[in-house]
Structure formats: structure tokens, C-alpha cells
Amino acid sequence: MHRTVPFWQQALLSALLLGLFLGAWELAAGRGGGGTGVAVDPEYAALLGQAAAQGGQTPFPRPSEIAVRLWELLRDPFYVRGTNDQGIGVQVAYSLLRVAAGFGLAALVAIPLGFLIGMSPLLSGALNPFIQVLRPVSPLAWMPLALFTIKDSAISSIFVIFICSVWPMLLNTAFGVQSVRREWLNVARTLEAGTLRTAFRVILPAAAPTILTGMRISIGIAWLVIVAAEMLVGGTGIGYWVWNQWNNLSLSDIVIAILLIGIVGLLLDRALGAVQRLVAWQD
């Protein structure tokens, strides 16, 4: 169960699976089979001025078409051609900025508050019911409320990121602080270390891996939520980009956006994973 398999075997199988999947897709889409069920009469289309070349157009884009489009988008990801037309890189940057703001704010609130909750069983018991009820509330249910009360869409988006990513950090910080080993606290006590010294030199580093686990969950949620929030609020961001491409039903762009969202999400996760490794300690 813990056997190790050479990396090249895994990579080969990965590549093989990817190849098979893309190949099957290319073929399936090429045959036009995966269509909409509404067979289009090419002559009808011709009457409407469709170029004959488009007779073979398929409803779902083929991987090769997507690759071409991807190349187009990535050749110039940061262009800004007016307010309604900006490169995909610009959109991702907008989303990342919002996530950074909301997530940063959440960390600023959650970590000190989590610390307090972790240290005080009373506070922990008293706040728990509220946390438990608010935690499962969907970000998009918050959005209308935020828009209405905050009256600023930029801050509303950030608030929604905030409110969704605050819970895992809060709970994990509290849990991490609660489960600092008694023996380390005893060491600090026998050394007559003061409250602040104990908090910063013992409890914080001891709880850091747990806190970072919470932050990692949070950033994942924040990234899920930003796309949803931007679809709803619009204006800029990768979520708005998806929304726009959906309105135009341009499937290649949506597939590309999905990939991009996945990859950026993965990178965010990896980045926090790296920080997590930095503060991790082994026993």
C-alpha cells in the first residue's frame, strides 16, 4: 500500500489518459455527433448567409480548436481595449486582487479571534452556535445582502470572499490553539514565560500548521467563491469573463476559463502549501 512507483510510469500513464481523452473528444466532436439535437439544414444556414465553410461547424469545440483559441488568448493576455474588452490575464489579475483583499481581511480577523476563542472555553462555547449557523451559508446568499447594506460592489465582492473564507481559518485557529500540547505550555509555565512570550513563541508556532491548514481550505473556498461572485456582480474578473462568454455561448472560452481557474486555484493552493511546509514542524 505504501509501495512507490517510478515517477515516469505515473507521468506516462497521465499523458496516456490525457491523450486518450482528448483524442476521443476530438473524434466525437469531429463527427458532429455530440450536437444539440437540433439538426441544422445547411441550406437553411446558407440562406441566412452562413459561409459554406461553416457547414462542418460542430456544436462543441474540438480540443484542437480550443488549443488555437488558447494560443490566441495567451499571446496577449494583458491587453486593455476599452472598458468592455480586456485580456484574460487582466481578468485573472482582478480576481486575484479581490481574493487577496477578502482573504487577507479574513485572516486579519480570524486569526486573532480564533486565538481568543481557542484560549477561552467560555468564548468558544458562546460563539460556537453563531459560527456553526453562519458557516454553511452560501456566498451568493450573502451577496444580495452585502450589495444592499454595503452599497459598494467592489467592497461587497470582497466582503463575500471575506465571509466565506473566514470560517475555516477561525475554526482551525481555535482548534490549533486549543490543542497545543499541555507539555509545551507546562514548559513555558515552569520557565515563567509571560503571556505574550507564551502566545508568540509557543502557542502561535505550535498552532501554525493547523492555522495554515485552515488558510489553505479558505483560499480554496475564496477562489470558488470569487468566480461565483463575479458572475453575479460583473464588471471585471475571470468570473465575469465566464459570464460574458456564457452569454455569447462561446464554449472554447468557457473550457479555457475552467482550465485557467483550475490552474490558478492549484497554484494558490500550492503557494499556501509551501508556506505550510515552512511553518510545519515534525515531532
Partner: protein, 435 residues
């Protein structure tokens, strides 16, 4: 593919001008197929001479007119009675909606479920998926879908009837009360319901006429109409050219004011459409006919000023618009608060006229071209004919004793400038001021 399935329409390049419409085309098609059973031959002929010419030639020796008449008679009971129709909760959908509580569908033997839907993209997707048998769409949507613009492949839908004319407005946030001149609007963020909407085209035209470049000087984004007020209140947008009741709702909640009614831009412009898949006409012609009659009747009923209050009551509830009745009332009666302290009385603020003028479609096409949604050359008249079913609507109107225009085109007046559908080219340029 002529002669197979519903391909009939496709072969009829120039439908007769006498108003026999799609039924006639089907009959004609059947005849052409009977005369030239060989596919290749038939296609060759059609390609060379066009369907009209071929039909004309055939009618020299066959009683084509009679066949058309026979096939065009409404042949009794609808093939399919249980229908689902999607709508967006706005007053543009009034005929579609009020036909439900007020029994117009039932009167024509149909059992219709009207389903409130969250946005235009969802309307489009559920229509393509045939979850909806027919739908409330923005007038440009069936055109775009048929052209394969904004969809993955051409999907032949058509405007069977126009739902409403006028009835839109530009609403601005209250903080802009002192900026009534569009030249002051640089940097504004506007919402329109959808990229393929009259709202988008009208707003762009309006801005361009005042010297703003809609793509650079302002931001225009697609926001589902119901979300517009909330976004205006949240200062997420500075204004919108949107459907009612959301213009009036902004006033009602003290969030915005009505800057201008679209009636003042283009009196009689179309907004929303009653859209059907083209296949419905050939596959379930009786259902189609019954539905047309119900919609046309409901439209006519909604148009009468004396019915407007009753209609407002019928559609304001939870099941339909889910809006305060007074708001809907102000929209339908045209006596409304403008958000600037005035009570305005514009009885024709919104109108209901089902006839799908081809000239409307042609203007829509020029704007699609103008703003880069369509990049190739189009035969505007052809496309208009295929997607705006003036003949079928006219037939239903005639059956209900309503006056039917003699021609499907007319000269429109848009912001004081005449639009001649026969000479549309000037309207495709980004800057038409100087044209």
C-alpha cells in the same frame, strides 16, 4: 436537404408577398418535391433559379395556389397541448404572462405552464435544450441564434410575434441627477439585459449620437434585468437601459430616476419577442397556430388602456413578476413618478403590438454589424424574412379581426433620423453621425 423533414422552409428563398406564410411554404415545398423527386435535380434547380422561380414555374401547370390554401387551413386540434414557456419577470412579457391567469391559452385549447427564469442565457440554453417549447426572448436573440452568432451553431428560432413595443428607459442613479447630458457620462458603468438586446443597441446608438464611444468611454455589461435595481443601489452601475418594471422600481425605492424613455428614442421600437423554434411550425402546425392566436389575442387585450389595471393586478403577484402592484401599474398605465419629483403621464409608455416588422429586424442586423457581433456580409432582407414571421403573425391577426399591415417593412424614425430598411448600409458604421 430540401424535401426532408422540416427542410421545406429552407428551400423557399422568397416567400410569396401575399401573406400565406409558413403554411403556404410547406405546401409549396410538398409540391416541388412531388414534381422533382430526385434530390440532386431539385437542388440544382433551386440553386440555379431560386425557390420562388421554381415554384412560379411549377404553378404554371399545377394548381399550386389551391394546394397552399388547403394545407394552410388550421387543421383542428393542436398536436401538442401541454407546453412550457419560459419568461423573464419583466413587463415586456405581459402578454405571455397574463395569458396564463386570464385564460387565453386555455381558450385556444392549450395547457401552458409559464416558467419564470433567472436570465437570458438560461432562457437561451433551456430553449436550445427544448426544455421550453417556446419562450420570451429579446427580439434580437432569435436572429442571433439563427445566424449562429453567440451560439455554438445556428439554431433556427424565430420571432413569431413581438411582445411589446417601447416600455424601456434609461435609469440613472440618483447621484447623477445633475448630469443629464450624455456627454457627461464618460466613465459610466451601464447595464443592459443581454448583449443581443434592443437595450444594448439603443443605448449604444444613443451614446454614439452624443459623441461617446460605447466601447471605450463607458462600460456596458450584461446584467439580468431583475438584478439591475440591486446593482444600481449598490453603486455597482451608474445606470441602465433596462426593461420595466425595473426602471420604475428604482424610482419606487428611491434609488434612481428615469432619465429618458426609449419611446422618446424610437417610438414603436420592438423589445421582447415571443420566440418559437422554426421546427414547431412544420412539426406541430396546429399547436403553433393556436399559440399564435392566443398570444396575438393576449397582446391585443393588453394593448387596450382600459384593461391595463386589470392586467397589472394579474401579473404582479408572486407567481409572475413578484413586484409591488403600484410599480407595475405605473408602467402599464403610463402615469408614473419619474424620480425627479414629477408625475408624468405617458399612456403609450409601453405598447403591445404583435406585428414583427421586417424593418425592425433589419435595423437589429445593422447594429449587430455595427458593433462587431456579426463580421460577415448579410442579406438583411432575407434574414429578416426568415426570422421575423410577419406572415404568420399577420395571419393570426387577420383571423382575430385585427388590422394587418400591407407590407412587412416601413421606414422607422430613430432619434429623429429616418431608417430606410431598403438602404440600411449607412447604419452599420460605428459613427453614423456624419453619415
Amino acid at each position: 436537404a430540401c424535401g426532408r423533414d422540416h427542410g421545406a422552409l429552407a428551400c423557399d428563398g422568397a416567400p410569396p408577398a401575399d401573406g400565406t406564410g409558413a403554411f403556404g411554404e410547406a405546401a409549396e415545398q410538398a409540391v416541388i418535391r412531388a414534381v422533382f423527386p430526385e434530390d440532386a435535380t431539385r437542388r440544382g434547380l433551386l440553386a440555379r433559379f431560386g425557390a420562388a422561380a421554381v415554384a412560379g414555374a411549377i404553378s404554371q401547370f399545377l394548381p399550386l395556389g389551391a394546394a397552399r390554401e388547403a394545407l394552410a387551413q388550421p387543421a383542428g386540434a393542436p398536436e401538442k397541448k401541454d407546453l412550457k414557456i419560459g419568461f423573464i419577470p419583466i413587463t415586456c412579457a405581459t402578454p405571455i404572462i397574463m395569458a396564463h391567469p386570464m385564460g387565453f391559452y386555455g381558450r385556444h385549447g392549450l395547457n401552458v405552464e409559464v416558467i419564470r427564469t433567472a436570465g437570458w442565457a438560461v432562457i437561451r440554453d433551456r430553449s436550445i435544450a427544448r426544455e421550453y417549447d417556446a419562450a420570451h426572448m429579446l427580439a434580437p436573440m432569435p436572429v442571433a441564434m439563427s445566424l449562429g452568432v453567440g451560439v455554438a451553431q445556428p439554431i433556427p428560432w424565430a420571432v413569431a410575434a413581438v411582445e411589446n413595443i417601447n416600455g424601456q428607459a434609461i435609469t440613472l442613479a440618483n447621484k447623477h441627477k445633475d448630469r443629464r447630458d450624455p456627454k457627461q457620462w464618460k466613465g459610466f458603468r451601464f447595464a443592459v439585459p443581454f448583449d443581443f438586446s434592443m437595450h444594448n443597441y439603443l443605448l449604444r446608438h444613443y451614446l454614439a449620437e452624443h459623441g461617446l464611444d460605447p466601447d471605450r468611454d463607458v462600460q456596458i455589461r450584461a446584467v439580468p434585468p431583475p438584478e439591475m435595481v440591486a446593482n444600481l443601489r449598490a453603486d455597482n452601475i451608474d445606470g441602465y437601459l433596462g426593461p420595466d418594471p425595473f426602471n420604475q422600481r428604482a424610482v419606487f425605492d428611491g434609488v434612481g430616476f428615469i432619465h429618458i424613455l426609449t419611446k422618446e428614442l424610437w417610438d414603436g421600437h420592438p423589445c421582447c419577442a415571443f420566440a418559437v423554434p422554426r421546427s414547431m411550425i412544420t412539426e406541430t402546425p396546429n399547436t403553433f397556430a393556436a399559440l399564435m392566436r392566443a398570444i396575438v389575442e393576449a397582446t391585443a387585450h393588453s394593448q387596450k388602456p382600459e384593461n391595463r389595471r386589470e392586467v397589472a393586478t394579474a401579473i404582479s403577484g408572486q407567481n409572475y413578476l413578484n413586484q409591488p402592484e403600484t410599480v407595475v401599474n405605473q408602467v402599464l398605465t403610463g402615469t408614473f413618478a419619474d424620480g425627479l419629483g414629477q408625475v408624468r403621464r405617458v399612456p403609450d409608455r409601453i405598447g403591445f403590438d404583435p406585428f414583427p416588422w421586417h424593418s425592425m429586424a433589419i435595423w437589429i442586423l445593422t447594429q449587430m454589424r455595427r458593433w462587431g457581433q456579426v463580421q460577415r456580409d448579410l442579406d438583411y432582407a432575407q434574414v429578416a424574412q426568415q426570422t421575423f414571421l410577419a406572415l404568420d403573425a399577420g395571419k393570426a391577426m387577420r383571423e382575430l379581426g385585427l388590422p394587418v399591415p400591407a407590407s412587412a417593412t416601413r421606414t422607422e424614425t430613430i432619434m429623429g433620423r429616418p431608417f430606410d430598411p431598403a438602404a440600411p448600409v449607412g447604419w452599420t458604421e460605428r459613427a453614423i453621425r456624419g453619415a
